[in-house]
């Protein structure tokens, strides 16, 4: 069996090896994150975009920024030395998506099925 020294693992958050390369990685990450943040705030403020699409666009921008943070700050890459970190991340993302999508889906259906109308569901308001 041949040795594969390039398959050694790296820890999450561990920077690359040269001073310049490490610093550039963080600077590029900061620039991209600032850019995506700026676009997010602009998208939320402008009236030039199609209204119903704005929230979806904001979520896409947020996911992109999380990716930037993972790659440039936490150094989670697709390289062979990062397999364990990526697999743990994939499992975490799966649980997060199951919890969030499942809850929102179920609770929205529950609310739709339970509510004959706002005047009947809020009894305190009715008496007040």
């Amino acid at each position: 069996m041949t040795e594969e020294p390039e398959l050694l693992n790296v820890a999450p958050g561990e920077p690359h090896d040269s001073l310049l390369g490490e610093t550039i990685s963080y600077v590029v990450g900061l620039g991209l994150a600032l850019l995506l943040t700026g676009v997010s705030f602009w998208v939320a403020s402008t009236s030039h975009l199609w209204g119903p699409g704005v929230a979806v666009g904001l979520v896409v921008l947020a996911v992109a920024q999380m990716g930037v943070h993972l790659v440039f700050f936490l150094h989670i890459t697709s390289g062979p030395d990062n397999t364990n970190n990526v697999l743990a991340l994939a499992f975490g993302v799966m649980i997060v998506l199951l919890v969030m999508i499942g809850t929102i889906w179920i609770m929205a259906h529950l609310a739709a099925g339970m509510a004959p109308g706002p005047e009947l569901t809020n009894l305190q308001m009715q008496h007040g």
């Binding site: 999450p12 958050g13 700050f73 936490l74 743990a88 997060v96 499942g102 809850t103 929102i104 305190q124």
Partner: protein, 213 residues
Amino acid sequence: MTSSEAAAVGLTHGGSEDTGLGNRGPQSKSIVVPYGFWLFVLSDMVLFSALFASYAALVHATDGGPVTGQLFDRTKVAVETVSLLLSSFVCGLAIIAAKRKNLFWTEFWLVVTGLLGLVFLVIELREFAGMIAIGAGPQRSAFLSAFFTLVGCHGAHVTAGLLWIGTMAAQIWTKGFQPHIGRRLLCLSVFWHALDIIWVAIFTIVYLIGTLP
């Protein structure tokens, strides 16, 4: 059990031929400790996903009280976002300096990281105090309970992170760049970057989408 049997079930390290379980033995502590901490951080994100889910389910349950668009100030949120992002960036610079065992720049960037985190926390606490002062506290409606739980949990994490930053600055000062101190510092940076990732979700879902016209 003979050594070849032990190798066959993967109980030995190195030298074993084709167990399919790797042939280098356990990783060093400098890999295992941050990896374990990475698992903790991911489980923390699962915790936050539950808080996000309850916020999304309750955001319209305002019980006649204030709604999202009346409470949030985008300018403050922008300042908070930039402080926390710069803090995360500077924390990376501290790691770079610590890797080269440069005491001055490690301590300097750690202090800057902490100060930027403090700016974030002060703005957040002032926002909370302002909301409670106008009667929009956590007991006002289910929406506000969910809001204070979600954003407050993130704020509590930032507070813990600030205490940790102070501890690490003191430990590096007194104990120097020993291997275990380096591992703690790396875990701190993973924690701090993760908090910024969670903040991205908060400022998008709670503040930006909450203040859309």
